[in-house]
Symmetry: C2
Subunit: 198 residues, 2 copies
Amino acid sequence: MGFDLLLERLEADPSLGLGRPRGFEKGEVVFRQGDAARDVYVLRRGLVKLFYVTRDGRERIKSFIVDGGLFGSRRSQIGDGSSAFSAACLEQSEIAVVGYDRFRDAMRRDARLASLFLDLSEGAALRKEIREHDLLCLSAEARYRRFVAEQEALASRLMQIDIARYLGVTPVALSRIRRRVEAERGELPPTSLSTVTK
Amino acid sequence: MGFDLLLERLEADPSLGLGRPRGFEKGEVVFRQGDAARDVYVLRRGLVKLFYVTRDGRERIKSFIVDGGLFGSRRSQIGDGSSAFSAACLEQSEIAVVGYDRFRDAMRRDARLASLFLDLSEGAALRKEIREHDLLCLSAEARYRRFVAEQEALASRLMQIDIARYLGVTPVALSRIRRRVEAERGELPPTSLSTVTK
DNA sequence: GCGGCGACTTAACCCGGGTTCAGCCGGGCG
DNA sequence: CGCCCGGCTGAACCCGGGTTAAGTCGCCGC
C-alpha cells in the first residue's frame, strides 16, 4: 500500500523537519489521554498501542500501530480538543513527529501527498468499521480466533494481557478462551489431512 | 452543522438530478447487505437504520440516520465491493439518490462542496470513534443510559427492539435494564430538588 | 543459587445477559 | 365484538465472562 510513498514525500519536504525520529523505550508514553496531541506521529520502527483508561481504571486497547504506521489523535488535531486515548510503546521504538499545522501546509502544497493521506484515512475508516462490526456482532472467542487468524505476526509480538485488553476481556477470560481453542485444535483429527499438515 | 449547505449545493447542481426523492414505506429496504451499493443517499425525511445480519441470523444495528442525514456504504463506493450492511426505513421516508460517480464529479467541480463533504466525513469518523469506545469500554446498561441521555429525541421514535439491536443485547435484556434504571429513578428522592423538577 | 517479580494458568464463586416460555396489552381486521 | 399478531414484560434456568485467590514458570539481580 501507499504508505512508503507517503513517507518518501514527508521526508522529501525539508520544512517538515522529519527524519530525526526520537527513540522511545519499551513502555514509554508518547501522549496521554487528556493531552492536546496536535501532532502526526510516524512510527519508523517498533510497536505502539493506542488505548483508553476507563473511569474505573481498566485499560482498553483501541488499536495497535506496527512498524511503518502513522498515528495521532484526529479529535485533537481538528477540534484541537484533548485526546480521548493515550499512546504507549510496547517495544523499543523510533517515532518521527510532525506538527499538524506543518503537515497540513505540506498537504496543501503537495496534492499527491494530500491524496495519499486521504487514501490512508479511507483505509483507517474501513478498519474502524470492521472493528465496530466485530465488537457489535462477535463473541470474545470469535474475536480472538479472528485476531490470531488475521494478524498472526502481530499477535505473536504481543503479551496476552494486551491481546485481552484489545478484545475487551480480562486476561483470565482470555486464558480460558485459549484453552478452549487449543483443546479443539487438539481433538480435531489434525486438519483432516493428518500427515501433510505443513 | 453544514449539512443544509451541502444539500443546497447538491440541489443547485442540475447534473446530479437531485430533488425528486423517492418515497419509501416503513420497513422497506433501501439496499441489502451483499449488494453493490455505489450510491449516496440523502434522507430528506424519515428514519433509517443501517444494520448487519450476523451469520446466525441476529440483527445488529450499526447506526441510525435521522431526517436530513446522508448515508451510503463507503466500502461499496470506494472499493466497489459489496456492502457489509443493509439499510431499511423505520418510518415512512423520502430519500434522494445520487450515483457516486456523479457525486465525485460534482465535488471535483465544486471545491466548497468537497470541503463540506470532508467535514461531514470527519464528523462521521468522530461518531464512529465514540461508538467504538462505548462498545469497548461500557456495559450494556451504561450504553443504554448514555443513549437515552444523549439521543432522547431519537430514542423516543424507536421501538425497543431496535434500541436493543443497537446496544447489542436482546430485547429481553433491554427490558430488564430498563426496569433497573427506572427503579433507581423511582427510589431516588426526585433529583434532590423534589419540587422544582422541570 | 535464591528471592522476587511479572505473566500466565486454574479453580471457585458470582452476576449479567441469553434463552425459552408464558402472559399481557394494544392495534388492525373480519 | 372477537380474534390475531407483534411488541413488551416476567420468571426460571443456563452459560460466558468477571473476580478473587492460589499456584506455576521464567527472568533478573543480588
